[in-house]
Subunit: 190 residues, 2 copies
């Protein structure tokens, strides 16, 4: 998505350790107009596939999850993160480890918001090692539903997440694909 | 806002302890269409007032903050919650205590996303004791900016938040105003 790539080049910062900061338009300050265009693009990319709801994870996934769900005319559900391991009768829960924050969270969704037999589109802001997206996919499958696809705003294509998602057989759509952040320089895939 | 009140009556649950659960359309599952209509209503209520950005708090404020900011054509910024007290050079931070969760969080926004001299609209999902809204207002004032107004989805009018906000001189707009949750029955203000 050209618009997103241009914005990443203009406002993103590549930091040592393969970290890309985009907190001026995705992660703490959000550009609503860009969020809308990203939602439209996800909806277009997954057009023709039955989607019953969108699943994302707090907090940065909510804006693009909302605009995608709005465009598709389906509900949005967001998984919650807790640092402590929380076993709840009424929730599906799984552990994920964040690449950027180097911390493990228990991620959960109330069972009533993840019914069985649905086609669920997973939306998230970043794809690095695939922990977050694959964790959300585990929740969907625990619920007896199907992952209709995984939509990612920014894929770090040099990290293993995209391979892991494809190996698991999920349809992946990334709006911006980063080839390298070496020497703190942002380089996109062709 | 009639549409919101009807939805609260249809899907909301009043629980003992003056708690209102609306997690099927605002708090974990989100109805994007309703979020949009709420954003349009906030924008209409604050029409004619200069607003430079919208400030909300993760996670449940993000959807309605986004739709409001979209309608107003301004950026959205969301404050982050941390359980630990975190002093950061580069952030404005304040403590707030959640009525529902009975826990105190340090709420912070990076200084670069809260510049001085702006008019900031605060948006949040619930108003009970006013801790969250007044905490966000403190962040705005620490930044040398002005609170243009406070927009709340659901005000529990029998709790002190709305009085505290008015006493502080802020313009308050609540889309649904709850008079009572006694006997687990939802009653709106006239």
């Amino acid at each position: 998505m050209e618009l997103l790539e241009q914005r990443i080049l203009k406002e993103g910062f590549a930091l040592p350790g393969n970290v890309l900061k985009v907190d001026s338009f995705i992660n703490q300050q959000i550009d609503p107009s860009l969020s809308f265009k990203m939602g439209e693009e996800f909806a277009a990319q997954f057009a023709g596939i039955q989607i019953d709801r969108v699943l994302t994870i707090e907090a940065s996934g909510i804006a693009i999850g909302l605009t995608t769900a709005y465009k598709l005319g389906v509900p949005l559900v967001f998984a919650r993160k807790k640092k402590s391991i929380l076993m709840m009768e009424e929730a599906y829960a799984t552990e994920i480890t964040s690449f950027t924050k180097q911390e493990t969270n228990t991620v959960s969704v109330l069972k009533k918001f993840l019914p069985a037999g649905q086609n669920i589109l997973i939306i998230d802001d970043f794809l690095a090692n695939g922990e977050s997206a694959l964790g959300l996919a585990r929740l969907v499958e625990m619920a007896g539903s199907t992952v209709a696809g995984i939509g990612i705003a920014i894929e770090k294509s040099f990290q293993p997440g995209q391979e892991r998602i494809k190996a698991a057989g999920y349809k992946l759509c990334s709006l911006a694909r980063i080839k390298s952040l070496e020497n703190c320089t942002i380089e996109f895939m062709d």
